[in-house]
Subunit: 332 residues, 2 copies
Amino acid sequence: MAEFRRDPVDGRWVIIATERRKRFVGFHTEPYPESGERCPFCAGNEALTPKEIFAFREPGSLKDGPGWRVRVIPNREPILKVETEFEREGVGAYDKISGLGAHEIIVECPEHSQAYSQLSLKNLTEIYLAYRERMIDLRKDQRLKYVLIFKNYGRTAGAMMDHPHSQLIALPILPKQINEELRGAKEYYQYKERCIFCDIVRQELEDRDRLVFENREFLVISPWAPIFPFELWVVPKAHRPAFAPSSDELVGLLAEAVKSTMVKLDQVLQHPHFNLILHSAPFGEENLEYYHWHLEIMPRLTQVAGFEYGSGFYINPVSPEEATSWLLRVEG
Amino acid sequence: MAEFRRDPVDGRWVIIATERRKRFVGFHTEPYPESGERCPFCAGNEALTPKEIFAFREPGSLKDGPGWRVRVIPNREPILKVETEFEREGVGAYDKISGLGAHEIIVECPEHSQAYSQLSLKNLTEIYLAYRERMIDLRKDQRLKYVLIFKNYGRTAGAMMDHPHSQLIALPILPKQINEELRGAKEYYQYKERCIFCDIVRQELEDRDRLVFENREFLVISPWAPIFPFELWVVPKAHRPAFAPSSDELVGLLAEAVKSTMVKLDQVLQHPHFNLILHSAPFGEENLEYYHWHLEIMPRLTQVAGFEYGSGFYINPVSPEEATSWLLRVEG
């Protein structure tokens, strides 16, 4: 059974999940799986997956059969399980928590090979609506504090399957990065009595040299201090702390912003591998004065990925202003 | 000119270094350079590098000629330069600092192809003595707060050159991870009036199931909450906050601990790519009651390296107790 362990020095929680070993051959990562007829995420192969949790389906189609457009299933080998007692335990100076949580897959389309930038606006909208539905549902479990939703696209970004999909991990604790964002944003608010994200929106609309896209509800910006070349943030213009309360219309405008951005990235960087991560206020804190939910998109171009893990120290060879000017040269 | 930029939300500083672009072809990392006769780090090719800063040399050999055993040189394309005015600047809600600092290469041996585990004890000792000399020297510049010393070995770990070398980056600010370790260790001390590292040493000597190596001065442990499989820490047993005051004898015993560990890792993991990072108290804080300098060794086996950057959330498929039991089965 997996467990959360807390580093006693820096406070970071790590999941120790020895069941994940199947991915490793002599402790090394397995080669990237070939695409093939037996992909469990392809339409027609629904019997190869656990029973579906949620789906957008054609009228008349049956659960766990074809006819779906977006389909959410439990991970076949979940890192965390809801059917777990929530137990905290001290081990001398150390702390651990049982592996309570959930681990789900959002299959983004029925077809095996689809570039993210080529998904239709309706398809993207339904993917994000599925995110919203799962958040609203998982929020009912009072033991869960956070839902981490992310997409790894391509091997360099950590994807193990070719078929377009996102992942969802529900947690009884806050991820370190979210904790730090909340702490930083709170300090800023205490000092200035303004939301840092509202200030970022104001400043980027004024400066414009890091502004990649704008619609009625969203900005896409190259952030001031990106850790990766061409890192992009999709940020709501209005003060919106949590993603789950989003209206259908807002989700549609989010899809528009992401689609435009991905079309641009694919042209400038020739279909980069990337990570996409949804950041949102924790469960029960949906009304924070000092935080905006947002999407972070991180193309994975640099191989510098070395000591950064251990030092938290990043070197980025492309300024956000320069990345922006490249992205503005192409259609999106 | 490079500059430090601070993320206004999480407070992390990033170096924006557009001069590093030479490493990128159309924004993608260049292929791994071939080893060859023209390696600037090989003995005999000293003229291909900037003038040496420090070296351990055979008697009678001349500066910037062959005869050295370990050689420290400025990076040919430094990210940071000492000849920079230290300037802080606000840009609306944002902050930046000029690219003040230093960027040096520690060439670890004259031969082009040498496994780290095969370097002699004397060679390793001189490498770490060179680290110490450079720290003592750079500490004189009052504008510098921290020296980050690290080794990237192999492409997966971010190395761009085959010839054995470490890197040194001197900074006017603290790296995020060091800041967090200091904060966490300080909180523990305020609560318990004990150093967390002293407590870790005590507990690992008692539990023994994460203890990989011990000599008079050092423990090598699999830490309680490792972010990577087979992550290892080399920790001084006595309370020693900073590396620079280390005696020659202590450095020799460090070399012994690292050599034994690398010999074991090479057997169990078949010569893994790895990062090695020296963590030490910042300049001017060499007497902290709550911190130990230590070395972190991170084999790079997992391809999960995806969303972890953005979420600070790590999944490790090998428990530290299991890693330890594998390492204890082989000689080292």
